[in-house]
Each structure stands twice: as structure tokens, then as C-alpha cells.
């Protein structure tokens, strides 16, 4: 197995040569933190880097030392870096994608005229569903990424994708939206009263309305009709977004945790991305339990260990032999507990190593005793990710 340092160097080298990094992974594996760390690394290397997150939690903002993030990019002030002894040659920017605003923005750009635009924005269903229509969040994120990329303002953009099991939807979403709401399917609803409909179609609509009621069908019809005016624009842009996502300026990074379930999901992401012609440049495994004490040492007798522990504190040294041994047994029991976890993690990572191509590096970030919620914390992770 190549050493951790090799993997880190390979990954650092890759990031250096890419302009877009897309972080994917399931929820709760540290995706947002890792995204910020990659952007921080690039900024320290002298690039102008942007981390684009969809995580509405305030933690990223707090970690970066700013009060809040919003739909416009915020530059992390130099003082924040200096406070923790960092001197970036580049710039670090962060933006939190507001889904509703982004989607409104999309409507704004793609609606053919003012009237169509208002029809969409005023639609009752739109208000509830603009951000949850299958794949639209992901689509909005991808389109925003594309927009920022083409502006040429940043040397590197890191995208933190939505924390769902549909993390890949933004690759598929544009096509699916376009395919699904094709004009044939649409006509069927938004012109239910036109004389053009066949007897069969009328029957279908009647049957459907037994489920939904006529009012719902009418609302849906209006919603889909309004939406359909956007599709010509979507279709054109979707192709370009896909092109960017699969080009060599972009690399995907799969973020995972070393539990068997998470590793399985990471493998699944890799497979799906491959099928979509997207390139995975690395896997980041967060929260890996360090192997503190080699298995062979865990049988160390409590008498011996208790003597070796002398000097831990003056109170410990003052204990009688039995009490010291008792403490040593606890110390040993605890190390044994953690060794089990370290072994399980190694096993899961070895499985990942065996399953994905040798050419893709796997980075390990240890499980830290404290949560990461400061710039200093991010830098700590950075050092284990890139300078291992």
C-alpha cells in the first residue's frame, strides 16, 4: 500500500492542476469541512480559491471566522489568518448557496419574457416546490458553479454538494428535467380543455382527477406549463454544465468515513460517477481512529504498565502499587477498546483500496479529540490531508 505521504502528495498535485473540485459523499462524513480545507490549501498555495457550500448550518462561517455567509462570495479577511499564524499568498472566498434565491435567479435568466417569469414566481406550487422538485437543488448548484467558473474570477472553485443520497443528481438532473417534461407530456395537462385531446386522453385525465381532484390537476398544469417555458434555456445550459463537470479542469473527490456502510456508499459513488464520465481524483476518509497501541502490546502486564506510567502526575506517583495497577488496567482496557475501532477502520479502508483503481489516492484524516470549528482547526485538518 502506498504511504499516506505519497497519497497526500499525489492529491495535492492534482488539486494544483484543477480549477473545479466537486466534493461528494453521504451526510455526516465531514464534506463541508473537507471542502473548506481544500480551498484553504489552495489559498495558502497562492491561488484565489472559492468554497461554495449548500450547508445552511453556520459552522462553516464560524470556522472561517466570519459571522455569516450568503449568496454572494465573502472574502475571508487576512487578519483571521494572521490570528492563527497563517500567511496566505492567495485568497480564500466562501459562499453559501441559497437554494430559493438561486432558483429564482435561474427563472429570471431562463424565462423568455416578463410575463412567463411572473407566472412562475406567482404560482402556488412553485413557492413550495421550487427547491425540492427532483434534482433542482443540485441543478441550481451546478448551474451556479458553471456561472462562477465562466466568470473566470477564481483560480479554484470547490463545490460542497447537497448532503443527500442523491449527491450525483446534479449530473443527471438537467437531462432528467428536460427529458421528463417534454412537450408531449406537458400538453396533456396544460391544455386539458382544448379540443385537440383525444377521447383516450380525456379518459386518462378523468381517472387521474379521481385521485387528485380537478383543482390539483389544474394547479399542476399551470405549474408545469409555466415551468416548460424555462426548458429551452435549461437544455442548452445543461449540456454545458455537463461538459464542465466531465472535462479535465474538474476533479471529483469522494468524502467518506471509515465505517463499512460509508465505505460501501463511497464505492457506489465512484461507480456512478464513472458511469457519468466524471473523474474521481481522490477519496478522503475522515475520522479514522489512530492505532495508538499495536495489538501485540495490549497484553502488557498491568504491573509493568503501571511502572511505565510513573511520571504521569505527582498524584499518580503518590498512589500505592495496587491503585496504580488498577489505573493501568483501565488504561489498557481503553487502548484495547480503541484498537478494535482502529482495526475495523483499517479493514474498511483496505476494502476500499482493493475495490477502486490503484491510481486513485486514498487520504486518511485522523479522528481528532475536538470538533473542528475554527480556522486553526481547518488548518490542522489541512496539515493531515496535504502534508501528511
Amino acid at each position: 500500500m502506498p504511504s499516506t505521504t505519497d497519497a497526500s502528495n499525489q492529491f495535492a498535485d492534482l488539486i494544483k492542476r484543477r480549477e473545479v473540485v466537486v466534493c461528494v459523499g453521504s451526510g455526516g462524513v465531514g464534506k463541508t469541512t473537507t471542502s473548506a480545507v481544500i480551498a484553504l490549501h489552495a489559498a495558502l498555495e497562492g491561488r484565489k480559491a472559492l468554497v461554495l457550500t449548500i450547508d445552511p448550518a453556520k459552522r462553516l462561517a464560524n470556522s472561517l471566522g466570519v459571522d455569516a455567509l450568503d449568496n454572494e462570495a465573502t472574502r475571508i479577511p487576512l487578519e483571521r489568518f494572521e490570528e492563527v499564524g497563517l500567511h496566505p499568498e492567495g485568497e480564500l472566498w466562501a459562499m453559501m448557496l441559497d437554494m430559493k434565491q438561486s432558483f429564482d435567479h435561474l427563472v429570471d435568466r431562463h424565462a423568455p419574457d416578463e410575463k412567463s417569469k411572473q407566472a412562475i414566481l406567482d404560482n402556488k406550487l412553485y413557492k413550495y416546490f421550487s427547491t425540492s422538485l427532483a434534482g433542482t437543488q443540485e441543478y441550481a448548484a451546478a448551474e451556479r458553479l458553471y456561472e462562477i467558473y465562466t466568470s473566470g474570477e477564481y483560480d479554484l472553485i470547490v463545490l460542497d454538494t447537497p448532503p443527500t443520497s442523491h449527491a450525483l443528481d446534479f449530473l443527471e438532473a438537467p437531462n432528467r428535467l428536460v427529458d421528463a417534461i417534454n412537450s408531449r407530456a406537458m400538453q396533456f395537462l396544460y391544455r386539458p380543455t382544448s379540443g385537440l385531446l383525444s377521447v383516450g386522453t380525456n379518459y386518462v385525465i378523468k381517472t387521474l382527477s379521481r385521485f387528485t381532484g380537478g383543482e390539483m390537476l389544474k394547479e399542476l398544469g399551470a405549474f408545469l406549463k409555466a415551468f416548460s417555458t424555462l426548458f429551452a434555456g435549461f437544455q442548452e445550459r445543461a449540456g454545458k454544465v455537463r461538459e464542465l463537470m466531465t472535462s479535465d479542469v474538474t476533479t471529483f473527490t469522494v468524502i467518506t468515513a471509515p465505517t463499512a456502510g460509508n465505505i460501501d456508499e463511497a464505492i457506489y459513488f465512484h461507480k456512478k460517477l464513472g458511469a457519468d464520465h466524471a473523474r474521481v481524483g481522490g477519496f478522503v476518509t475522515n475520522r479514522v481512529h489512530p492505532a495508538w497501541v499495536p495489538r501485540a502490546e495490549l497484553s502488557r502486564p498491568s504491573g509493568q504498565l503501571s511502572r511505565e506510567l510513573s511520571g504521569l502526575s505527582s498524584e499518580y506517583d503518590a498512589l500505592d502499587r495496587e491503585a496504580q495497577k488498577e489505573f493501568a488496567r483501565k488504561i489498557r482496557g481503553n487502548a484495547t477498546d480503541f484498537q478494535v475501532l482502529a482495526d475495523l477502520d483499517q479493514e474498511a479502508i483496505a476494502h476500499l483500496r482493493d475495490t477502486i483503481p490503484r491510481s486513485i489516492p486514498i487520504m486518511r484524516v485522523p479522528y481528532f479529540a475536538h470538533d473542528i470549528h475554527s480556522l486553526a482547526g481547518l488548518d490542522h485538518v489541512r496539515r493531515s490531508l496535504f502534508v501528511a
Binding site: E215, E315, N334
Partner: protein, 321 residues
């Protein structure tokens, strides 16, 4: 207050990766062991119950995975067919309408439809009665989606009742909405880890559920709580230990592992305290299990843990009242 064991529909939500499936499984097992005929529901996910219970893969057909414990992984497509057939009664008509290509491509893009179908089917099981008018299930336990999607999922009926004024969809949604809001029938349990992010997200989720969705909260579960191995004095020695205090690297390793434990315990207890001080609901602590993967043995231990802690709570409430 109705005990959690007496409600018909019990949901589990929380941030991704905090152990919702584990807790839903353990609670369902606990119900089944009390003799309640229990249905454990996954919502169109890659099945994880087969690994936990050592059962067959759980799909859209209900299967028995333990005594009194049944499971299903609801597929929106199958749910739609079942629902359609229930209303239309004739398979040919269903096929003609719903399997029509145009209708299919239309249904794929109807916003929220999949969530509505899954919630609708879950509710159907919660109120399902047999020929004699007796409930088919004593308990329906749902492994609900993580925070963001979870809120959207539970909100669907209210969205429909606010858009529509009448019609069959309106009345179905209304029924589900009322059921979800009834504290004698439903409870949403929130699972969290005693760490900064998950705790904050849990507090926000709870607020939204109570204020916007008007849903009853059951218990809050602090999952993966490290048991303190070291007492306060010992922890203090460990927390003060230096990175290179011992020449022998193995000794240092033992101390580092112990220091990590002490640091985690200290940090976790802060967040457990925060949960305790902020929330009025029962807080159940589930210990961290070092020794195994999440198999049946672990789930059974967690089931006992929940049972003991919920029992304690209702006991103390009774004596207080």
C-alpha cells in the same frame, strides 16, 4: 402524556450519519419484544435492515424479520400501484392510466409525489384494520429521512392542504396531517450525537417540527455516548499529559488513547448537558459500543437501554405527579 410505546406511529429523524436506522431498529425491536405487532419502515433506501437483523433483503413486500417484527422498504412506484388499485379496483384500468408512457413521464416530475406516496402508505399501515375491525399493526416505526429532506417529507400534507380547498387529495392530506399532529398517535424522535453540529441541527429541527409542523416530539436520543472509564481526578492527569511525555512510544500510545477518551468524554458531556438544559423532552443516552459492528446483538442491547431509560422516566413522572 401518552407513553411512546402507546403511540401508533413513531418516526426517527436527525442529521445524516447519527444512527437513525440503528435507533429505529432498536426501538422497533423493543416494541416487538413487548408483544406489539410492529412494522419497521424504510423509505426507498438501500436496505440496511438485512445486515442488522440478518434477515433477507427488505424490499417493497412486507417480511417478518423477528418475532412480532416486520419490515418493509417502501418504493414509491409500488405504493402508487397499491394505492391506485385500491381506488380503481380494476387492474386493467390502472395499467391503462398509470402505465401510460405520457402519464408516467408526467408523474415523474410532479413535485413531492414520491414523498406523499411514501408518507401516505406509512399512514395507511398505521390505521390499517382487518376484517374484524382490529388494527393490523400495533406500532409503525419509520426510519425517516435526514433533517432537510425530513422536514420536507413531513410537511407535504400541510403543503397540500394549504394549496387545495377540497377534493380527494385534500381530504387524504388532511387526514394524514391530523394524524401526524396528534400527540396520542404520533411521535417524532430526534437522534443526535453529542457534538456541536448534530446538536445544533437537532435543536433547529425540533423548533421547526414544533412551530411550523405542529408535530409532537417523543424522545431525544444522544447516541454514541462514551462511557467514562476514568474518574475526574484521573481525567485531569490525562488531560494535562504532554504529547511527548514518555520516552517509550508504546507508553505514550497508551496515554494518548486515554487522553483522547477523556477529551471526548469531557466534550460530549457538555453537549449532553446542553440538550438536557434546552429541551423538555426525555433524553435517552445510548452508549458507544466499541466491540462490534452494528449487528443484532448491539441492536438488542440498545433496545434494552431505551426500554430501561424510558421506563425510568415514566416511573419518575408518575411519582412526581
Amino acid at each position: 402524556m401518552t407513553s411512546l410505546y402507546d403511540r401508533r406511529m413513531v418516526l426517527f429523524s436527525g442529521k445524516g450519519g447519527v444512527g437513525k436506522t440503528t435507533l429505529a431498529s432498536a426501538f422497533a425491536l423493543s416494541c416487538a419484544r413487548k408483544g406489539q405487532r410492529t412494522l419497521l419502515i424504510e423509505l426507498n433506501v438501500k436496505d440496511r435492515l438485512n445486515a442488522i437483523f440478518g434477515s433477507v433483503e427488505v424490499g417493497p413486500e412486507i417480511v417478518e424479520i423477528e418475532q412480532n417484527l416486520f419490515a418493509v422498504n417502501i418504493s414509491p412506484r409500488v405504493a402508487m400501484e397499491e394505492y391506485g388499485l385500491m381506488k380503481l379496483r380494476v387492474k386493467v384500468v390502472y395499467k391503462a392510466v398509470f402505465e401510460n408512457r405520457v402519464v408516467q413521464s408526467f408523474l415523474r416530475v410532479v413535485p413531492g409525489l414520491n414523498d406523499l406516496l411514501m408518507l401516505g402508505k406509512s399512514h395507511f399501515h398505521a390505521v390499517e384494520v382487518d376484517g374484524a375491525g382490529k388494527y393490523v399493526w400495533d406500532k409503525v416505526v419509520i426510519d425517516a429521512p435526514a433533517t432537510g429532506h425530513g422536514i420536507f417529507f413531513l410537511k407535504i400534507p400541510s403543503v397540500i392542504t394549504s394549496i387545495l380547498e377540497s377534493g380527494p387529495m385534500f381530504s387524504d392530506a388532511k387526514k394524514i396531517e391530523e394524524f401526524l399532529r396528534d400527540p396520542s398517535l404520533t411521535a417524532v424522535n430526534l437522534v443526535t450525537l453529542p457534538e456541536e453540529m448534530p446538536v445544533n441541527e437537532t435543536l433547529e429541527l425540533r423548533q421547526t417540527l414544533v412551530d411550523e409542523l405542529k408535530m409532537p416530539i417523543g424522545m431525544i436520543v444522544a447516541n454514541s455516548v462514551y462511557e467514562p472509564v476514568f474518574d475526574e481526578e484521573e481525567s485531569a492527569w490525562l488531560l494535562d499529559a504532554e504529547v511527548e511525555q514518555f520516552e517509550d512510544t508504546q507508553t505514550q500510545g497508551f496515554v494518548d488513547a486515554a487522553k483522547f477518551r477523556a477529551q471526548r468524554v469531557e466534550m460530549q458531556s457538555e453537549y449532553v448537558e446542553k440538550l438536557e438544559n434546552t429541551l423538555s423532552e426525555t433524553l435517552v443516552r445510548v452508549p458507544y459500543y466499541f466491540t462490534e459492528r452494528f449487528d443484532f446483538q448491539t441492536i438488542a442491547k440498545i433496545a434494552d437501554e431505551i426500554d430501561a431509560q424510558l421506563g425510568e422516566e415514566s416511573g419518575s413522572q408518575r411519582s412526581a405527579g
